[in-house]
């Protein structure tokens, strides 16, 4: 990864070098801009703004594989690092097992919290391949959902864990 210094490309904007969903990019971010706003402004609309105060988790993205809140992380923090949004996890044509599991369990109602919730789940399963229900609930604790009561989301993560474990064995 390129670790060159950030350049103030034009007044008030910095060029940062990073990867988003595996693709190396140079992005112009505003002075003082948060990662949430920078990503949305550049077209990653899956990163949602639910509160802008670090309380709801809708803006969760992975920074070097760890979940962070896009509304609390200055965009320049991503310089030289790897950002993953839900677009990078899977697509409608080729979804990730977690996305499929959320759909199959009926865990997607309005869907606004779902990208953040799936990314938190991804980070959990990367670290703990066979989590307990308590571990799942703890991992999802920063992602508020008002539609589902979390019942089917917890079920989805359990199912995805099983499926991914099966894939690893195969």
């Amino acid at each position: 990864m390129n670790n060159k210094n950030m350049i103030e490309a034009k007044k008030g904007f910095f060029e940062i070098t990073l990867t988003v969903n595996g693709e190396p990019l140079e992005l112009a971010v505003k002075n003082g801009e948060f990662l949430l706003d920078a990503l949305r402004r550049h077209g990653w609309k899956s990163v949602k703004k639910g509160c802008d105060t670090g309380d709801c988790g809708s803006c969760t993205v992975l920074l070097d594989g760890k979940p962070v809140l896009g509304c609390l992380v200055p965009a320049v923090t991503a310089h030289g690092r790897a950002v993953t949004t839900i677009e990078g996890l899977g697509t409608v044509r080729k979804p990730h097992a977690l996305q499929e599991a959320f759909v199959a369990a009926g865990a997607v109602q309005c869907g606004f919290c779902i990208p953040g919730m799936i990314l938190s789940s991804k980070a959990l399963l990367d670290a703990v391949p066979a989590p307990t229900e308590a571990e799942i609930r703890k991992a999802l604790d920063g992602n508020l959902c008002r539609c589902t009561g979390y019942v089917k989301q917890v079920e989805a993560v359990k199912n995805a864990a099983k499926k991914l474990a099966g894939k690893r064995r195969a």
Binding site: R40, G43, W44, K45, S46, V47, K48, K49, G50, C51, D52, T53, D55, C56, S58, T85, I86, E87, L89, G90, T91, V92, P95, Q99, E100, F102, V103, A104, G106, A107, V108, Q109, C110, G111, F112, C113, I114, P115, I118, A134, I136, R137, K138, L140, D141, G142, N143, L144, C145, R146, C147, T148, G149, Y150, V151, K152, Q153, V154
Partner: protein
């Protein structure tokens, strides 16, 4: 009838938008970019009650990038309601897009559109307002007194029953069959209160107003009621309905808060500037300046005989509607009409309802819609009565709940904003729901086990039964249009608004069932006032029952047209044909594909588009029923309540999609549990909200959500599409009374003020001694 022969309905068909949403496809209001988009910011009132003596926007207009600043002087003065209800709305016309008076901390003062959010914000700070601060009144008791500050002293508001006493709505009725409480062996009277509660849809209120290539105004907005938005914005801004198009994209939750028409101001800014304008509430603004549940005090008085007969029941409910009377009458009426009929009352029934203006945030529609407030009282009172006469609370309910074929004088006396309709119960699974719940929670076993407890940790079980409606009878109307494509697929156009509830999917299932095809052969387009036919929108638990009825009728008309063509192709009599497996099939087994039918009609024979539309409204509103059971643990040392298990058994008729129905109920129940344990908006002594953030206003997160188990109890509602009734709201009404009753069972205290925070538990324990 039952659902066992159905092929698509009553199956867990995959929600059609789920994968796109799980992959983060741009689907919501804010997921589309607009060239030259302006950003709106509002100046909110810092005072609970004040008159604007002078307002100077000259400095604001000088901020670079600012394109418009609007005050009340710039807009037509049109009294209207923001309640997105059918016309004429039963809510008072007491709201103005902008006014020269502010009535709560957070009321609109002025609006700015600028090239950046920062410029808009800076301009808002530079608007100079000279206020004449008026005395404010922050609670309903004081607001109704003679000489209280009059919040709506304007002369041009309409349909306020008693502005001098701040009464936004009132309704009383009585059924009298003899002297009050004459037959009662025991009489009970108690009051229950519910505070200001927020919907907390994770997507804040957001709207983008722009112009299409013919100059018409388009509102891309997060709403539950696209057609009401079109009508009310046209009314408020004095522009023709034909000049407005409303598009509801995917919306990030509503729960009633988006049944509120707040789009007038962003539309006004777009009209002023001629440019696209976005208004996105911050979370804080959503808390304070969108809408809330009506805080309520519900006093109930009832009489019971030793044998368990309920002789008399009186409900007096006082709702705080805040500064404006949005849904003031209808939420108040539903607090009685959806609850009192739950149990047979032998002699006398009385309802006294008031919705009262205060200088506080504006209440509106919220999932449960009054029934949440009413059932908290009624269901706790049921347990008080059962305890007194020494009857098991479950037995007492079994004896008294409304049975199949029974009616209630309340159905006719109280509708939504007007007289209701007479109806009897045409389907109920409450008996089975109670049975299932008793088994799952292990009622008898736990009652026995918990009867002799010692030590500081006490456990208890509690029950609550509920009903709701399925749409508003003879008020709600929905319509649908279908057309057939060459490959035997169909476009289904519905005005219905999918809020994440899955209504697009279940409406496709209903159509597919009629046409003998798979749900994914139906392409659903919903909620676009230019394209889709009318629907009142997503509220009053109406979509499955009303919109579903419209879709079923439409599909049946399409089916008849298909059979007409099929009869020609197959040279068969129409009455010998049916649709099955994507084919027109004759009694003797010959068949042709739907694709053949479509191509024949489009290209070869008597050329025509197979298409139909139909509308539906209903004369009754069949209630869904529920029995809820809570198993709780009370730490009498700390006052903390822990829910160990929560069982919710739901009769929603046929669940069109059982998986989605379960999801609706899980969400409603957890929202109700969150109300029960933690939620409350707090205010300073001058009416300033203190906890307008998710950090300080606590909704349940994954880790602190207790186990919730939903069980669907299948029944068949003869008036519903494929036997269906509603499911979305009812579940929110159970947790307050079920948990309160369980806490009584655990440690002998009655909790009657929501939420049940440790301080209230400890105070009640101390009082009990």
């Amino acid at each position: 009838m039952d659902a066992t022969k159905l092929k698509v309905v009553n199956k867990p068909v995959t929600k059609m938008d789920a994968l796109g949403l799980a992959c983060g496809e741009p689907a919501f209001t804010d997921d589309m970019d607009f060239n030259g988009l302006l950003h709106a910011k509002l100046l909110w009132s810092p005072h609970a009650h004040a008159r604007i003596k002078k307002i100077d926007v000259s400095e604001a207009l000088k901020v670079p990038g600012v394109k418009a600043v609007l005050t009340y002087k710039d807009l037509p003065r049109v009294p209207h309601t923001t309640a997105g209800q059918g016309y004429p709305e039963p809510s008072p016309y007491d709201t103005y897009t902008l006014d020269n008076k502010v009535r709560y901390v957070g009321d609109r003062v002025a609006a700015v559109a600028a090239e950046t959010v920062e410029a808009a914000h800076e301009a808002v700070l530079k608007i100079k307002v000279d206020y004449e601060i008026l005395p404010a009144v922050l609670n309903t008791f004081d607001a109704m007194k003679d000489g209280a500050p009059v919040i709506h002293d304007e002369e041009d508001s309409k349909n306020i029953p008693d502005a001098q006493h701040n009464i936004a709505a009132k309704f009383d009725f009585e059924v009298k069959n003899g002297d009050w409480f004459k037959e009662a062996d025991h009489i009970f009277e108690h009051s229950w209160t519910i505070p200001y509660l927020q919907h907390c849809a994770i997507e804040p209120h957001i709207s983008i107003a722009y112009f299409d290539n013919t100059g018409r105004l388009v509102l891309r907005t997060s709403t539950q009621v696209p057609f009401h938005v079109r009508r009310i914005v046209a009314q408020a801004l004095k522009i023709p309905v034909k000049n407005i198009r409303v598009i509801k994209p995917r919306i990030g939750g509503g729960f009633g808060s988006k049944q509120e028409v707040l789009e007038d101001i962003v539309a006004a800014l777009a009209l002023k500037t001629g440019k696209p304008v976005k208004l996105e509430y911050t979370r804080k603004e959503t808390f304070i300046s969108s809408r809330t549940r009506h805080p309520a005090t519900c006093r109930m008085k009832a009489g019971v005989k030793k044998d368990g007969t309920i002789t008399d029941a009186e409900m007096e409910i006082t709702l705080n509607t805040g500064a404006y009377g949005s849904h003031a009458l209808t939420v108040m009426m539903c607090s009685g009409s959806h609850t009192i009929p739950m149990y047979r009352v032998k002699n006398n029934i009385r309802f006294i309802g008031r919705s009262v203006y205060t200088n506080m945030p504006v209440a509106g529609a919220y999932r449960g819609y009054g029934a949440t407030q009413g059932f908290f009282a009624w269901e706790c009172l049921m347990d008080m009565m059962a305890a007194k006469i020494g009857m098991d609370p479950v037995e007492f309910r079994r004896m008294n709940y409304i049975k199949l074929g029974e009616g209630s004088p309340v159905f006719k006396a109280m509708g939504e904003g007007r007289e209701g309709v007479e109806q009897v119960i045409t389907s109920t699974g409450l008996f089975e729901a109670i049975k299932k719940g008793v088994d799952e929670i292990k009622w008898a076993e736990k009652k026995a086990k918990y009867a002799s407890q010692t030590g500081p940790i006490r456990r208890g079980v509690g029950v609550a039964c509920m009903m709701q409606g399925s749409g508003i009878p003879e008020v709600d109307m929905a319509s649908a249009t279908m057309k057939m494509n060459e490959d035997g697929s169909f476009n289904l156009l519905v005005g219905a608004a999918d809020l994440g509830t899955g209504s697009d999917t279940i409406l496709a299932q209903i159509a597919a069932e009629v046409l003998g095809i798979k749900a994914d052969d139906i392409i659903v387009t919903s909620s676009d006032t230019d394209i889709t036919p009318f629907d009142v929108g997503a509220y009053a638990s109406s979509t499955t029952f009303i919109s579903g009825g419209a879709v079923k009728k439409t599909a049946e008309r399409v089916r008849d047209m298909i059979i007409e063509v099929g009869a020609k192709i197959l040279d068969q009599k129409k009455e010998d044909l049916r649709l099955e497996g994507g084919k027109v099939v004759a009694a003797d087994g010959v068949s042709c594909s739907l694709s053949e039918v479509a191509n024949t009609s489009l290209y070869y024979y008597n050329q025509h588009q197979i298409t139909a539309s139909a509308s539906h409204f209903a004369h009754t509103s069949p209630p869904p029923f529920q029995a809820n059971f809570a198993d709780v643990e009370v730490d009498t040392g700390t006052g903390k309540i822990k829910i160990l298990d929560y069982v919710s058994c739901v009769d929603c008729g046929t669940a069109i999609n059982p998986q989605l129905a379960e999801g609706q109920n899980d969400g409603a129940v957890v929202n109700g549990i969150s109300h029960t344990l933690s939620e409350e908006m707090e205010f300073s002594s001058n009416g300033t909200p203190l906890n307008a953030s998710f950090r300080r206003y606590k909704i349940l997160s994954a880790a602190d959500t207790p186990p919730v188990r939903t069980f669907i109890i299948p029944t068949w509602e003869p008036n519903g599409p494929f036997g269906a009734k509603s499911v979305s709201e009812i579940g929110i009404n159970g947790p307050l009374p079920a948990v309160a009753n369980a806490v009584y069972n655990a440690c002998g205290i009655w909790l009657s003020e929501a939420p049940f925070t440790p301080d209230k538990v400890l105070a009640a324990l101390k009082k009990k001694g």
